[in-house]
């Protein structure tokens, strides 16, 4: 579970593990993204997601998701407080991986309960 405060940023290390608990390191054209929204209400193209942060495309407010940063398959997710400007409540945080070596489709890595407090 991830508990965030609306007026403060959030930083998390996200590691992606395979079925044998080995770390998957996204490299090259691989992309990772974090999505915050309500499950079943994201829209076909995530148009109704509340926040989407993908590696290689920081948000204007400064949120980012850096692959293998600093190293060892740790991926640095930073959510800027300015991007947490949606209504406080309970949502889902989806972490997804686009592994170009294994078909070009997004794969779900994890789904966490994401609670935003209006503080």
């Amino acid at each position: 579970m991830v508990y965030a405060y609306q007026r403060r940023g959030l930083t998390r290390n996200v590691q992606i593990l395979d079925a044998n608990s080995n770390v998957i390191v996204p490299t090259g054209l691989d992309t990772i993204r974090a999505i915050i929204g309500r499950e079943g209400q994201l829209g076909a193209n995530l148009e109704t997601a509340l926040l989407v942060v993908a590696s290689g495309s920081d948000t204007p407010a400064g949120s980012f998701f850096r692959k293998n940063d600093p190293s060892n398959g740790n991926n640095l997710l930073r959510l800027d407080a300015s991007d947490l400007n949606f209504a406080p409540g309970t949502y889902t945080l989806f972490i997804e991986l686009l592994d170009v070596a294994d078909d070009s489709e997004w794969k779900n890595v994890s789904r966490d309960v994401f609670v935003l407090e209006g503080t």
Binding site: M1, D18, A19, R38, E39, G40, Q41, A87, P88, G89, T90, Y91, T92, R111, D112, V113, F114, V115
Partner: protein, 265 residues
């Protein structure tokens, strides 16, 4: 999958926000879906805001060709005028109405099945030909019609399927989640979650009582771990669509009683 309540909201209240297994997620997801379906069924509409295209009336309204009946007494007979069975009010199926995109009237429209029916010349003017019973203003300063009644400057046609209406009805996500400053539809969400919790707890209780029970397992793989539930087993465990008395009481203010009582006219 539920399109009103996020599974995370249910998992949080079940105390599984950090530890839900694939099996528990599957059970919770199924319970949420059936709870939401039961509640939509009771309300008689989808509370989540949606655009609809519908045809009215659902059946021919006029029961009599004329507008009067003869009543006879011992010594005399009276001709009594009767109210026409068709009316200047049309009860829409989905509430609350948020906007009317378009109304078309074609007396031979046949529910839109006749080629060329409802041409653009059949479009009626909002405000002068028809209007909803706007009874308030939402937090975006838009009109809202809670009872779902559409009024006409004259009488609505009595032929079935001669009125085509495109409209938006239902509550926004903010209103459903109690985050709106004017409209609070949170009791609907609360009921969905409570009903889903009741169903999940029923499965958990059953599971506790049966040693060695594998749950609603359909298949499980270790490599690239996956778990799938058997929906038939889940349906048996979770039960039917009956709602608790408390839920019904909470939902009553949101039911489209007008549609229910009008018999879909």
């Amino acid at each position: 999958m539920s399109n009103i309540v996020d599974l995370s909201e249910l998992l949080l209240l079940l105390g599984l926000s950090s530890s839900a297994t694939e099996e528990e997620r599957g059970i919770a997801q199924y319970a949420l879906k059936t709870a939401e379906s039961s509640i939509k069924d009771y309300l008689q509409y989808n509370p989540a805001q949606t655009t609809y295209v519908e045809f009215y009336p659902q059946s021919n309204v006029a029961a009599f060709p004329g507008g009067s009946i003869l009543e006879t007494g011992d010594t005399s007979a009276y001709e009594r005028q009767i109210g026409s069975p068709c009316a200047d009010e049309l009860q829409l199926k989905n509430i609350p109405i948020r906007s009317i995109t378009e109304v078309r009237i074609d007396y031979d429209g046949r529910f839109g099945s006749r080629p060329g029916s409802f041409p653009s010349s059949s479009i009626k003017a909002a405000g002068s030909d028809y209007w909803a019973s706007w009874d308030g203003i939402d937090s975006s300063s838009n009109l809202i019609c809670r009872d779902g009644i559409l009024r006409s400057v004259g009488l609505w046609p009595e032929q079935a399927g001669s009125v085509k209406i495109t409209y938006v009805a239902g509550y926004t996500k903010e209103e459903l989640h109690g985050e709106d400053s004017v409209i609070n539809a949170y009791p609907i969400i609360e009921c969905i979650i409570e009903e889903a919790m009741r169903k999940v707890n029923k499965v958990f209780q059953t599971k506790k009582k049966r040693a060695g029970w594998l749950g609603p397992l359909a298949s499980e793989n270790l490599g690239s771990y996956s778990y799938s539930s058997d929906t038939a087993s889940l349906a048996k465990l979770i039960g039917g669509t009956s709602l608790s008395g408390v839920t019904l009481e909470k939902l009553n203010p949101y039911v489209n009683w007008g549609w229910s009582l009008s018999g879909g006219l």
